[in-house]
């Protein structure tokens, strides 16, 4: 690649550093994100270190990025959307909405272990659409672990139950834009003519979640048959009936309703996300102390991803990359299948969010340039396909925090997790292709 500007070269250097650090994790993954933003500010921003950003002629240097644009990634609408989700989740936990809801939802599933397990998986998946996958897994495991003693010695059902929860949490995260951070990263690239609303995301992703969840349930039952005949899960607590609790219930329902009905009121999901933030703060439902429980590391991890994408786009590197490499000569199906498989493999060995941070900016650039992809849904299709693949980290304890928590219960060994995990991830990838094909047929990817 001849004629690379200095800024572009620096973006390449930052990108490779990010890739190395996110894969090998010499420092925490959110710290890598902060490092990306820091280095971008110093080396390629309009207010960078003077001898770095004033070196050479303007043509050689390339286009510097406004420093405000880089700093804006900390409070980008996507970050606010996630913050809104965090407020909802925190209030739900604090006012025991999650636990009481789980209690009600679990009741119809009775005491037959097979159905109880399906119930647990459905509840876990639904919760992880709005809460973090980790918090959901922690909550559901805390319900499950005390009753693990009922399993007869040598009953493999214990493993089935322990794995059901993290798998359901991983799968459930796909269901909404706020379900898991990779979805948030994808939103950065789903703008303009590729814009996707909260409701559209759910319409697109929910069928996938339902089908994969059922497959995971059947698979776990087949691999680890349950011998115990009866299982009774008891969930403590009763509905809170004070003023603040009612405000939480109403705000929770209202926010979700507003997310789904943007075509009525005109506010997009980013603005709706401020409802729980404002209401819960005003009524002292989330207080100063609760703010400490916000996972700033998750928000900053996403910010770094957005900043990396920004640098690739604004420096012109993304465009140049695409022009230089003759992607046009490759088969579009080969590109789609190889990149989704790469995403799945990476997600199994490293953070799902870091995978999305690294792959999505490249994929987005690729999607724009590759006209042969248009027949299959173009840019929107490939971004969504890769994002879903980023949630297919199922096989190892290190794949996702939910997997690590389930592993820490001691009820399973790595190999017990790997077998169903690999199968579910592979089925998930195939199902992903089927979903993209069907969405293409119904015209989901058509430019508005």
């Amino acid at each position: 690649m001849d004629g690379l500007t200095i800024v572009e070269q620096r973006v390449i250097a930052i990108f490779f550093m990010a890739a190395l650090f996110w894969i090998l994790e010499p420092i925490p993954i959110y710290a890598t994100s902060l490092l990306i933003i820091f280095l971008e500010l110093i080396a390629i921003s309009t207010k960078g270190l003077n001898f770095l950003v004033e070196s050479g002629s303007p043509e050689k240097l390339g286009s510097l990025i406004p420093y405000k644009d880089i700093l804006h990634t900390f409070a980008s609408p996507i970050i606010i959307l996630f913050l809104g989700g965090f407020f909802l989740a925190m209030a739900a936990t604090k006012y025991r909405l999650d636990q009481n809801l789980a209690k009600v939802l679990l009741k119809p599933f009775g005491e037959n272990p097979k159905w109880v397990m399906l119930g647990l998986m459905i509840i876990t998946a639904v919760f992880s659409m709005f809460m973090s996958n980790t918090a959901t897994t922690a909550m559901m495991l805390s319900i499950l672990v005390p009753v693990m003693a009922v399993f007869l010695p040598g009953d493999k059902g214990r493993m089935a139950f322990t794995l059901a929860i993290p798998f359901a949490a991983n799968i459930g995260g796909i269901g909404t834009p706020i379900g898991t951070p990779p979805n948030a990263v994808a939103l950065k690239y789903l703008t303009g003519e590729n814009y996707i609303s909260f409701g559209e995301w759910m319409v697109m992703a929910l069928p996938f979640v339902v089908v994969l969840l059922l497959i995971a349930w059947l698979l776990l039952l087949a691999i680890y048959p349950i011998k115990t005949e009866k299982i009774k899960l008891t969930i403590q607590g009763s509905w809170l009936k004070n003023r603040k609790a009612y405000i939480v219930y109403i705000t929770f329902a209202l926010t979700i309703l507003m997310w789904l009905t943007d075509f009525v009121h005109g506010m997009n999901s980013y603005i709706v996300a401020m409802i729980p933030v404002a209401v819960f703060s005003a009524f002292d439902i989330i207080n100063k102390n609760d703010l400490k429980n916000i996972s700033w590391d998750v928000l900053w991890l996403v910010s770094g991803g957005i900043a990396l994408g920004l640098a690739l786009e604004a420096s012109g590197l993304a465009e140049r990359l695409v022009q230089t490499i003759p992607f046009g000569t490759f088969s579009p199906l080969l590109i789609i299948s190889s990149i989704t498989i790469v995403a799945m493999v990476m997600a199994n060995f490293m953070s799902n969010t870091a995978t999305a941070n690294l792959l999505l900016p490249l994929v987005a650039a690729l999607g724009i340039s590759l006209s042969s992809l248009d027949a299959f849904g173009g840019n929107k299709m490939i971004i969504i396909a890769v994002t879903i693949s980023c949630s297919m980290g199922m096989a190892l304890p290190i794949s996702t925090p939910p997997n690590a928590l389930a592993f820490a219960t001691g009820a399973i060994e790595s190999k017990n997790m790997a077998k169903p995990g690999v199968i579910i991830a592979l089925i998930g990838i195939l199902l992903n292709y089927l979903l993209m094909y069907l969405l293409g047929i119904v015209g989901f990817f058509n430019v508005q």
Binding site: G85, F86, A89, M90, T93, K94, D98, M131, S132, T134, A135, T136, A138, M139, L141, S142, V145, P146, N293, I294, S295, V298, A404, L405, F407, A408, T409
Partner: protein, 160 residues
Amino acid sequence: MDKLYVLCVDDQREVLNALTQDLEPFETSLMIEECESVNEAWEVMESIDANGDHVAILITDQVMPANTGVDLLKRAKSDPRFQDTRTVLLTGLATHQDTIDAINTAHLDNYVEKPWSKEGIHQIIKVLTTKYLLSKGIDYNEYTEVLDQQTLFETLRKTT
């Protein structure tokens, strides 16, 4: 990886030996340290802190020559360096007043009567280590064999 210490303080050698033997299963993750007096314990605690490591759990006998266990606990709790250290009073001879002091002034986490049960002390170590790790923000994934599941789940579900 940060080193986590469990300090066992007792003036009777045989009690210390029995205790550390019972704590052996944790030796892969935790450093078990023995001290025969309050003064020795304090010196060890200061040197652990000076090295940037953690005094995670302090298990002490009450009745010892010179200073008592409760004296040590009070001193630790009033020192900012050991504010998060979790404490256990392991004794057969604490008076009513000692016990009240230990709870009210030294904010004792656990009171264990001699003779202790191995399973009981294991459970206490797990719970207290988990609480210590979470309060310090140390990556719990590196300590899986000493984690208490319920304590971990209860804390994690409150995070976002």
